[in-house]
């Protein structure tokens, strides 16, 4: 199969970018989308051109490193998948595929389709952990956690940190990402002692990084490969208001 890839090319963070079209032949339906880009890059190398820089690592939908805007959707046309889980059978022969990097001022472009998502790490740095040194843990079954609580915590903990929520949000809000981590930890008894501090500090960092505020379009939960629910954002709001009132 043959498609035309219209790809955003940008040399570096400071340079101006623009779209370039590449006719890409020799693809098969079984190829993953990223394999199609690999294939395009091999063609470019043989034509003595610079390869398209794009992110990937595990290629099984769990590491969260891949992610581009494909034909107007974060991670492509399907709901709840990562870019690496998208296959060429989702496109038709002769299609034009527009490929753009995540766009958000908090995610500056490094090159072509690669962006810098270290803002997420800095949000985690402000409390996305339980302060417990190695060697200080009590016996695991000494803390009983009901299946419901554990499952709910796990639902939130499933976030892969890909940034699709920010990319698709009209406000480039990181509320889904931040709330997932806060709710993962704050709903567990182990995370409770520093629950208020966590929600206040992480949300403060979220704002400092230049992410917008949530207006509940719900686009994030549709694109989220880990199916993190938008109710997490509401829960974060509740935790925030409670922490603010009690501190």
């Amino acid at each position: 199969m043959k498609v035309t890839c219209k790809i955003w090319r940008q040399e570096s963070a400071d340079s101006k970018g623009n779209f370039k079209s590449y006719e890409t032949d020799g693809l098969t339906e079984d190829m993953s989308f990223l394999e199609a880009l690999d294939h395009l890059n091999e063609i470019l190398v043989l034509k003595n051109e610079r390869v398209v820089a794009f992110e990937y690592d595990c290629r099984e939908g769990i590491c969260g490193q891949c992610g581009v805007f494909i034909n107007g959707r974060a991670h492509g046309p399907h709901d709840h998948v990562t870019t690496c889980q998208l296959h060429m059978r989702s496109f038709k022969d002769g299609d034009t595929i527009v490929i753009e990097p995540w766009r958000a001022n908090a995610f500056p472009i490094l090159k072509d389709l690669m962006v810098d998502r270290s803002a997420f790490d800095r949000i985690i740095e402000q409390g996305g952990f339980i302060t417990a040194k190695t060697g200080t843990a009590p016996e695991a079954n000494a803390i009983l956690i009901s299946k419901e609580v554990s499952d709910k915590s796990m639902d939130a903990a499933a976030c892969i940190g890909c940034g699709a929520c920010v990319a698709t949000c009209k406000n480039a809000s990181a509320a889904l990402f931040t709330s997932a981590k806060i709710n993962h930890l704050n709903s567990l008894p182990q995370g409770r002692p520093e629950a208020h501090k966590r929600v206040l500090e992480m949300t403060q960092q979220m704002q400092l990084e230049g992410f917008g505020s949530c207006t509940y379009t719900g686009a994030c939960e549709v694109e989220c490969p880990a199916e993190i629910s938008i109710s997490n954002i509401a829960e974060m709001n509740a935790r925030y208001l409670k922490a603010k009132l009690l501190s």
Partner: protein, 219 residues
């Protein structure tokens, strides 16, 4: 000032305005009664409201709510717009979110335009006495009914009023459920029910407010 504070203000004022609309619509529905009953009921009702201290206080809260709602929503929108300097060349938002949710600012502006015109026509005349003075009805009440009746027989005004109730409906549909989320209501099943309530509420308000002028016009 944190985004949570701003969001809470918009949500709280929004919810207050939602309650106000219920009261407002129930008053409007009086207009559907036969003229003889409607006029006196409508006028006595509006006079009672104007003369009640409590309602006057609520009135000031209402003005303040509208102002805060608009100002903070504007600040939020302004700040949110600054988060993405380069927009996507292709963006199929409709595949992952409702149109209303993507256009709350635009819808809000339309509603605001309506409110300004609406208040100029009623509130300014009746409450502030600006423009043509309003007469009294046979019971000696200020004849607000007549003001309404006249306006609702102005085809341009009726069209303006009824059409702008459509953006109001969309704004309410997304706004009501979102306000609850902003204020921290996160029960998953509850949120699903809330989404349905929002839809019903928004539909009742938009259709209710929108259809009354038409009925009065054609009556």
């Amino acid at each position: 000032m944190s985004m949570f504070f701003r969001k809470s203000v918009v949500a709280t004022t929004g919810l207050f305005l939602c309650i106000f609309l219920i009261v407002h619509l129930s008053a409007n529905s009086l207009l559907l009664l036969p003229e003889s009953i409607a006029r006196s009921l409508y006028n006595s009702y509006s006079t009672t409201l104007r003369e009640s201290t409590l309602i006057n206080v609520v009135g000031y809260i209402l003005y303040l709510s509208i102002i805060l709602h608009v100002v903070y929503a504007a600040i939020i929108t302004y700040k949110n717009r600054k988060t993405r300097s380069v927009s996507y060349a292709v963006n199929h938002k409709s595949e992952n979110s409702s149109w209303a949710s993507q256009n709350m600012g635009f819808l809000g502006v339309l509603v605001l335009v309506f409110i300004v015109v609406h208040m100029a026509n009623f509130w300014a005349r009746i409450k502030l006495g600006i423009g043509e003075s309003v007469g009294l009805d046979t019971d000696g009440y200020v004849d607000v009914y007549q003001v309404t009746y006249d306006l609702f027989h102005n085809v341009y005004y009726v069209l303006f009023y009824s059409i702008l109730m459509i953006p109001l409906g969309f704004h309410l549909f997304h706004g009501l459920k979102s306000a609850f989320k902003s204020l921290g209501f996160y029960h998953k099943k509850g949120l699903r029910i809330l989404a349905k309530i929002s839809l019903v509420y928004a539909a009742v308000m938009a259709i209710g407010f929108g259809i009354i002028p038409l009925i009065v016009y054609f009556k």
